[in-house]
Symmetry: C2
Subunit: 146 residues, 2 copies
């Protein structure tokens, strides 16, 4: 299993309301709990991200029209990569497989990393990101920070 | 980690096209590969499900209007439960946390199990399912069947 889906991001209308819902239902605190984004562990090596829909538009480079069109809900699926060059390789393979480029691979100052976005055949968004501050322990538990 | 997101289902326009894309990109065969649905391992204990959007409507009991409205893309997030009563408990806790009931807990003849659907505050769909035929091995690998 070289590739793992590790993050499902939902673009939400009201971050506070969504945060309250998931913390109450899952009965544990977020792994990362900021004013602008919330990450909650939801599986082995898997996080649920809550992000204002407008911010997801900004982060992904996808137009609001794309996010609202058909299958393009305000959500994305993500994989982490061990290095910028691995991001490039995974993206290249996706494009070879028929993906549509949404955001070319580039530096991501927000997390001191490197990332890209592409769309699958139904315009579902995938992000491939090298994020030096995100780690998964052997038991799958995620942590952020140095 | 009592609860794990184990399935992300995308309601797709053309199952064959989506299957070809994911098999080509991920470079491994589906765990379950049927004419009407495809499941592909995408992480430790985690599957990506590809399902015609119209069938996702039928399976979830959500109206097409709901699936197309705002955040309600043709996709869902899923957890497995060890028993029907655990489905009931997880659903009750979600409703207590503010979820909207979409499909009351009931037998699911399609997989000889028991399931329900609810919507989170943004109308993202969650399915809670007891599926006796779906197993995750200690290494997270999923299998279907007796």
């Amino acid at each position: 299993m070289d590739q793992q889906l590790c993050l499902v991001t939902l673009g939400v209308r009201d971050l506070g309301a969504s945060r309250r819902f998931y913390v109450a239902w899952l009965e544990h605190d977020p792994t990362l709990d900021l004013d602008e984004v919330v990450f909650i562990q939801v599986g082995h090596g898997l996080l649920l991200g809550l992000f204002p829909a407008s911010e997801l538009t900004t982060d992904s480079g996808a137009s609001l029209e794309r996010l609202e069109r058909g299958a393009s809900a305000p959500m994305s699926l993500a994989q982490t990569a061990g290095s910028p060059s691995e991001v490039d390789r995974v993206l290249a393979r996706a494009l070879d497989a028929g993906a549509t480029l949404v955001k070319p691979a580039q530096d991501a100052p927000a997390f001191n990393g490197y990332h890209c976005y592409f769309a699958d055949p139904d315009d579902f968004l995938w992000e491939i990101a090298h994020n030096p501050g995100l780690r998964f322990a052997p038991d799958g538990r995620a942590s952020f920070g140095d």
